[in-house]
Symmetry: C2
Subunit: 322 residues, 2 copies
Amino acid sequence: MNFEMIVAANGRLSGKKRVTPLLNSPFIDEIVGRPTYLKAECLQHSGSFKFRGAFSAISALTSEERDKGILAYSSGNHAQGIAMAATMHNIPSTVIMPEDAPKIKIDNTRKLGAEVVLYDRYNESREIIGESLQKKFGSVLIKPYDDPNVIAGQGTAGLEITKQAKDLGIDEADLLVCCGGGGLTSGIALACAENAKNFKVRPVEPAGFDDVVRSLISGKRETNDSNSSSLCDAIVTPSPGILTFPILKEFCYPGMVVTESEVLKAMRIAFERLKIVIEPGGAVALAAALYHSEMLDSKTIVVVASGGNVDPETFSRALSFR
Amino acid sequence: MNFEMIVAANGRLSGKKRVTPLLNSPFIDEIVGRPTYLKAECLQHSGSFKFRGAFSAISALTSEERDKGILAYSSGNHAQGIAMAATMHNIPSTVIMPEDAPKIKIDNTRKLGAEVVLYDRYNESREIIGESLQKKFGSVLIKPYDDPNVIAGQGTAGLEITKQAKDLGIDEADLLVCCGGGGLTSGIALACAENAKNFKVRPVEPAGFDDVVRSLISGKRETNDSNSSSLCDAIVTPSPGILTFPILKEFCYPGMVVTESEVLKAMRIAFERLKIVIEPGGAVALAAALYHSEMLDSKTIVVVASGGNVDPETFSRALSFR
């Protein structure tokens, strides 16, 4: 796993991914106390950055591998990214999803062309179901983060951020990234280590699911106690990835943790000030900038809004939250 | 008023305006029955395209004119555009707004640096208040659409659309534009007349406020019967502009009219499929594409989403609308 793989993924994604804008607002700058920019990956195809990694991984396969179809497991955003990227390659995909994933994510994954297999998150293992389906059909399993070409694809968001920041004259920043298994964070950290050495990449997680933040402190892969459902469903993972953690450990600065109330308020601020829809898991980085800016010491803040696949009911809840 | 003025405005706005993305979704393509792209001007500074015209007009003034401050009247989006553009020029601004304008628009205009003067839309004339303030302070009055440099600024959205469409290989399209007084529509029509002759620019209005659509049919400036408040507050104007109408008449194709139900459904679809926040007046063009595509004959549809300054209550209403 290295920077050159990100550059290669960027070439394969050229003309396929959306170069998402870096947005800002004087209202947000005022709250954070300095210029703050948001990378709007909610505007990416399929509604989250996951399209990048999915397309990157599928486009790296041989045509023989592709013809057997794609298999994936996901709480929702990787599912939609895989479904859309597979459809763009004209190949079938099957996605294993928890039966309590947001309905919009399950519906969209189907409509984007994937076959969806639901499982019981509390009593079944998606890894075991995945392996059994893989043996049965011989399909390639594309994991949501522990796959070099997935990490490379997510890293293309980092290439865009460093270029867009450079165009704005930003040469140092705290760069806050919504973090689940660490695919996006490690990809961006690798891109910054090469292209923007004064960017401090920090993973952000919701309270109770701060496995990466704690792992960076202890130096080893920690596990979350809770297996409960979370408002931030997109980024709830049991522990940092096996491939992602060494990268996070080498390149990331200390992480940050936000509460559900802070997430809901951040979603409302993104609605009011930037006119974008962010899902709870995609709002943790913005929440960290808005409500914990005292932990940050760079002149400029960049946050990634990683996705926007949220049910109308949850979004309305954020809009009326006080 | 000519194409060169748009190119000049584009130069003044360079590095100041946001080049907003052209978004799409397979879900929307399916409903419309062909590739459909949305120009997301809700992501423009101040939450609507109005920033372009406001900045264009202010930047075209002499420094003597600027020093006396800017005066404007507006139902809300021009107000915010003027306030933000004036603040960026370090000059004061005063904006006359109806007292029943959406609260978020009044609040934001103040927070963006303008002094706001409220008036009673039913019993007072904003033009008369504007003229009296103008005489008192000697400020320059920047009208919301009947100003050549405002039209030129809005036309820069058309320059971007034609370039972005060309990059996507689109050489013919129906281009639907949310239309109030016609500043945006006439600016885009002028840009297309020069840069994309196979683009059919069509104004879209809400039912009951279809003065431009009727004026294009009759060939003369028609007036709306109703003076009532509308869900689509941003684009409710009594009649086409004096400067804009001749341009609309020369370059536009027949307009379209949508209902409030169609507007609310379009807002929800933009939320679900594009992850953007569109206000009712900014959703009429998307609504026309979604629900009246039988009136369109181009292979590709482009719609402009002109703004996103909507109260949380109205947005939640759209999300729960069936």
